[in-house]
């Protein structure tokens, strides 16, 4: 129960930060102050809050769980590729969006698209697609909160109550503190993340009697493939470098880029982003792999499920395979290691670090509220008719409604549905990234090109999700190709259902999704009417 008490203290601290931010802004009922902290964040808060915003529960729980099952490949697959692509996109896109926001007062990406391409309803469609892909994150955040509190308290805090507490805390500090509160909480959480990785590594390493013996024993055992990347194909590995393109296309990340006081604040963020990723992910991935050497009944059950799926999975029904996949999932291995090796009070502190990761849905809730009030409420005349104060209150009411909606869904729907939605939302946002590149770097892009990209993104996300839902995943078959193949061309599998998802010519769906998006933007824009010269000059200079 001690770890749960420490976590509750942490939640109280987070709530206090949000309320403090509210007091700091007292009297200001301006949309720009509430939704963007008056574009005034300093370098330290900007770096840590932007980074924290992008780190979900997956950074700690999911990364170690993925590494437990798949080995060290997790780091190269998800972390080091992000360490290159995300800061690069912040450097190229984030800085330009910040400057346009400062010059023209944009508060959301859709506002910029509407202005850049002289469109209105196409902007609304982009808002709808972005919102639809963002909502599952909020739901899964609440589910993660409920599950974590349940596990940390040893079952004393039921899932529904834990989820309600997390939802209430997040809703409260976003409601009161707006962007300022969210940024401060994210900064606090990121410091906890960073401390978490180092402390967990030291404590667990000490508890295991050092990693050298464990690693060498693993190298000499049948678990040795986990120290390599042979469980993942190089095609899949390459495909994954497209996923981090999604980061800059996420509305909450782009909106965060608008909060910097000066453009120079991007410098530290761009440089230190890969180091922050390294500091959090490397220990989590390493510990996830090393968990395979720990003798705990829960871990042995997972390993047994993994073995049964690999050896007998082919002869099983899809439902039985799904059941085994649930059993072998390693998202809780890091918590199991802490239970085993960390003293109770420290397990509580580290549990708070995990809660910090789980609660990353705050900026998504705020971003949805900002988008709704700016892209829908204000755009369709609400701000003009009712004033800015009512706009801010509408944003606050929206925060309550969206959190309640997410909580109710989190209680009723199975988690796997939203995990699937999140899996393909990443690809979806990556497929939307050509919108930003075209808007900022290509004079010739048009609203019709933007429409084609948006429709393609929505259609492809739905198609891949429907395909995966209708064709059950095959069992992994060591030494043979387990894929269910739908057509071949020149010896390549055109479309296949793999044990881990879907492949198109051996690549993850994100590759064709991004490439076709780019192609559609180019072809449709070339064939359609450009915006007025004055608009193009506003973005690229030149003759008006």
């Amino acid at each position: 129960m001690i770890p749960a008490i420490v976590v509750f203290l942490y939640l109280a601290a987070v709530l206090y930060i949000g309320i403090f931010a509210f007091r700091r802004a007292r009297g200001k009922e301006e949309a720009e102050d509430y939704f963007l902290a008056s574009r005034s964040l300093g370098p330290f808060v900007f770096l840590f809050s932007l980074f924290g915003t992008n780190m979900t529960a997956f950074a700690i729980l999911g990364s170690s769980g993925h590494a437990f099952t798949n080995g060290i490949v997790t780091f190269g697959l998800m972390a080091s590729s992000s360490g290159l692509v995300i800061p690069l996109t912040i450097f190229l896109v984030g800085t330009r969006v910040w400057a346009l926001g400062k010059k023209y007062g944009f508060m959301t990406p859709v506002q910029m698209f509407r202005d850049r391409w002289e469109c209105s309803h196409i902007g609304t469609l982009i808002f709808v697609v972005q919102a639809a892909m963002l909502v599952p994150y909020i739901i899964i955040g609440i589910m993660g909160g409920g599950t974590t509190l349940y596990t940390i308290s040893g079952g004393a805090v039921p899932f529904w109550f834990g989820g309600a507490i997390v939802a209430m805390v997040v809703m409260s500090y976003v409601f009161f503190g707006g962007m300022r509160g969210t940024a401060w909480v994210n900064t606090f959480q990121t410091v906890l993340f960073l401390a978490f990785g180092a402390v967990a590594l030291i404590v667990i390493g000490y508890g295991m009697g050092g990693f050298r013996a464990a690693a060498q024993a693993m190298q000499a055992s049948p678990l040795a493939p986990l120290l390599t990347r042979e469980r993942i194909s190089p095609y899949y590995f390459f495909s994954y470098t497209f996923i981090p393109l999604s980061a800059i296309a996420f509305p909450h990340i782009l909106i965060f880029c608008l909060t910097a006081r000066k453009i120079t604040q991007f410098k530290k963020t761009v440089i230190f982003y890969p180091i922050c990723i390294l500091a959090i992910w490397l220990p989590c991935v390493f510990l996830g792999v090393m968990a395979n050497r720990v003798t705990m009944p829960q871990i042995q059950e997972k390993q047994e499920a993994r073995r049964v799926l690999a050896t007998q999975g082919k002869a099983m029904q899809p439902e039985q395979r799904d059941e085994l996949r649930d059993k072998l999932a390693g998202d809780d291995v890091i918590m199991l290691l802490l239970q085993r090796y960390a003293p109770l009070w420290l397990a509580g502190l580290l549990g708070a670090g995990i809660m910090a990761a789980v609660m990353a849905s705050d900026s998504q809730i705020l971003a949805l509220s900002t988008m709704f009030t700016e892209d829908v409420f204000a755009f369709y005349g609400g701000k003009t008719r009712f004033g800015e104060s009512v706009q801010v209150q509408t944003g606050r009411i929206f925060i309550i409604l969206i959190t309640l909606f997410a909580y109710v869904i989190a209680l009723q729907a199975p988690e796997t549905i939203f995990e699937l939605a999140i899996q393909y939302a990443f690809s979806g946002f990556a497929a939307l990234s050509p919108l930003l590149i075209a808007a900022l770097f290509w004079r010739g892009s048009t609203k019709w090109g933007a429409l084609a990209v948006t429709l393609w993104t929505a259609a492809s996300v739905i198609a891949v999700a429907a395909f995966q839902s209708s064709v059950p995943a095959p069992a992994p078959t060591p030494g043979a190709n387990p894929n269910i193949i739908f057509g071949t061309l020149g010896g390549f599998e055109v479309l296949s259902r793999t044990p881990g998802g879907t492949a198109v010519f051996g690549f993850m769906p994100v590759v064709p999704m991004v490439l076709i998006s780019t192609l559609l933007m180019v072809v449709v824009s070339l064939a359609t009417k450009k915006p007025a010269q004055t608009t193009i000059a506003k973005y690229f200079g030149g003759h008006k």
Binding site: I72, V73, F75, G76, A79, S80, S81, G83, L84, P87, L88, F91, T95, R96, W98, A99, K102, K103, G210, F211, R212, A214, A215, Q216, Q219, A224, P225, L227, T228, R229, E230, P234, F237, F238, T241, K262, I263, T264, K267, V270, I271, F272, Y273, P274, I275, I277, L278, L282, V285, F286, V289
Partner: protein
């Protein structure tokens, strides 16, 4: 020339991410870190260094000037 070199550096680092040469090696660096993990840890440090180069030699300072000009014009209009 400077810009071309930076673009080449970005492309080179992207290619270096696909390190198929350590794919099946379970060699342990310092006796406990798998070489594939060690490589990508070093890759992350190299990415930070590349970002430092970009920030130092290709910083879009014109954006800041544009914003300052726009703010001056706005101030003047008031």
């Amino acid at each position: 020339m400077k810009r071309i070199l930076l673009v080449v550096a970005v492309v080179a680092l992207y290619i270096l991410h696909q390190d198929i040469w350590f794919w099946r090696s379970s060699h342990l660096v310092f006796g406990f870190i798998p070489i594939g993990l060690f490589y990508h840890g070093c890759f992350s440090v190299a990415a930070a260094l590349l970002m430092w180069l970009l920030v130092t030699f290709a910083w879009p300072s014109h954006l800041e000037q544009e914003v300052e000009e726009a703010e001056r014009e706005e101030g003047g209009a008031r």
